[in-house]
């Protein structure tokens, strides 16, 4: 890891600055995501985890501090589509077929029709939806829609994937299956990932590092390295897994973190 996928340096974000309803969403936050690393942001509602993700995505500007993505400032990185993004709602375009949804970011990159189709079909195969290319989003289940959204986020083969509670609206079974699929995809593509969640088990299962945040003002209170030998269904039952879950839970409650030995 010679360079970093994301560097957030002393970033403070104040909403409605100078007004009566001024809110400090983030205060002096520093975060570095290594290349190929999977980092989860976890914390109570209002801790600014989504705000931090949106800062990295350059959907909102920081009040002070700098955000660097893939060695460039966040704005430049966004314009170069250096990241793919997925939200809690799939946000598919209902008038486009599944295939054309995945093609959209490629269209905006100016790829030819043939290239777009090939790449989009590859991505759909990756999320296991090759047979649904011609369907419209309304014909798919919530889990399938979310998989299309992930395929769309991966379509430009970005070095970085940003995800804001992408499995938050799904049932537990679908969620666990998608978690495994996501890990497999990230391993295959070598994508770095920043993943916002409020589920401790999800954060531990997915991440190389769980970043714990607290609210008012939003800041990072702990970072727990997760070193599981494998990430499969047996890992979900392993003692080590539960130790990590416990230490993340303690960190969330403000107990000083002690990483499992």
């Amino acid at each position: 890891m010679t360079s970093s996928a994301v560097v957030v340096d002393k970033v403070t974000k104040v909403f409605n600055q100078g007004r009566a309803d001024e809110v400090t969403a983030l205060s002096e936050v520093a975060l570095t995501v290594g290349e190929g690393e999977f980092v989860s942001l976890i914390g109570p509602s209002g801790c600014g985890k989504s705000t931090l993700l949106r800062l990295i995505a350059d959907l909102i500007p920081p009040t002070t501090g700098t955000v660097t993505v893939a060695g460039q400032d966040a704005g430049t990185a966004r314009k170069k589509q250096a990241y793919g993004i997925a939200f809690q709602q799939a946000g598919l375009f209902e008038w486009r077929t599944v295939l054309r949804n995945v093609e959209l970011p490629l269209e905006l990159r100016g790829l030819s029709r043939g290239e777009r189709k090939t790449r989009a079909e590859e991505m759909l195969a990756l999320v296991g939806l090759a047979d649904f290319a011609g369907h419209y989003p309304a014909q798919l289940s919530g889990g399938m829609q979310q998989r299309v959204a992930i395929a769309r986020a991966l379509a430009v083969q970005p070095p970085l994937l940003l995800m804001d509670e992408p499995f938050g609206a799904l049932d537990e079974m679908t969620r666990e299956r998608l978690q495994s699929e996501l890990l497999a995809i990230c391993a295959k593509t070598g994508t770095s990932t920043v993943f916002v969640t409020h589920s401790i088990s999800e954060a531990v299962f997915l991440s190389d590092r769980v970043v714990v945040m607290s609210a008012r003002p939003g800041r990072i209170t702990a970072a727990i390295e997760v070193d599981l030998p494998a990430r499969d269904d047996t890992a979900r039952q392993s003692e080590k897994y539960f130790e990590y879950v416990t230490s993340v839970r303690q960190a969330l409650r403000g107990v000083p973190a002690a990483a499992p030995s």
Binding site: D58, L59, Q89, G91
Partner: protein, 254 residues
């Protein structure tokens, strides 16, 4: 079978209503100038079918031209109003005034503006009536963009024009068609009623007035039936167009 189950109930109710009408009129000895029997109207309709058809074509042409003109104007105006916020704020009260205007009442005035043989006044009345529902609905559709779609397009670094073409316009289609559905029936009503105020005597409206003034009430009613069928044709054609334009909609009316 399911199709039959959907169609059968309204057909049965409709036939029962016509039967009840027939029985009431004949048994109650209601004078034909108050309410003619359906059988009498039907006889006239069969007898006058060529006239009804030609009159419907004449009125239909006016309604169609008004509908297309008013819809195009409404959609273009809505696009301009959504593109320039200031224009949108100014245009809404104007559109509301236009809507509050009893546009049918303009027909006699418009008739005097043009030659008596001109079809332009009727087309104008239909067009003005069509404009408002199309404008309002399209504007609402253009303004309502899913925030996630907005953010996604932002992350794709999409230009304003790309955003309009790929998100705003297709996203507004359901609203445009809501407006068009209302407008399609209104256009026919406007074109027919506008004929009540003189001018060319070719359309359904003028046939209804002349039949009524000759106390040929069943004939007047036959032309009313023609107007009803014309309105239905317009409405169903719009539904069909909607279906073709939005194949991703699973239900037609939602």
């Amino acid at each position: 079978m399911r199709w039959l189950r959907g169609v059968l109930p309204p057909v049965i109710v409709g036939l029962a209503a016509i039967l009840a009408w027939q029985v009431t009129v004949t048994a109650g000895r209601i004078a034909p100038f108050i309410l003619p029997a359906p059988s009498a109207i039907w006889r006239e309709l069969v007898e006058q079918r060529q006239n009804v058809w030609e009159a419907a074509l004449a009125s239909g042409e006016n309604a169609l031209i008004g509908l297309i003109g008013g819809a195009v104007a409404g959609i273009l105006a809505a696009m301009a109003a959504s593109r320039f916020t200031a224009l949108g704020e100014v245009s809404l009260p104007f559109a509301a005034v236009l809507n509050a205007l009893p546009i049918i009442a303009l027909a006699p005035i418009l008739n005097n503006m043009f030659e008596s043989t001109s079809s332009i006044p009727r087309r104008l009345v239909a067009g003005i009536i069509v404009f408002f529902p199309v404008f309002i609905n399209t504007l609402r559709g253009l303004r309502e963009v899913n925030p996630i779609h907005r953010e996604l397009m932002h992350t794709y670094a999409a230009s304003g024009w790309t955003f309009a073409a790929k998100v705003r316009l297709p996203g507004s289609l359901p609203y445009v068609f809501t407006g068009l559905r209302q407008a399609s029936s209104l256009a026919v009503i406007a074109a027919v009623v506008a004929e009540y105020f003189g001018g060319l005597q070719t359309g359904l409206g003028s046939r209804i007035t002349s039949a009524a003034s000759f106390t040929a009430y069943p004939r007047a009613w036959a032309f009313v039936v023609g107007a009803c069928l014309l309105g239905l044709t317009f409405y169903l054609s719009t539904l069909l167009l909607e279906r073709l334009a939005m194949p991703y909609k699973t239900r037609l009316i939602s």
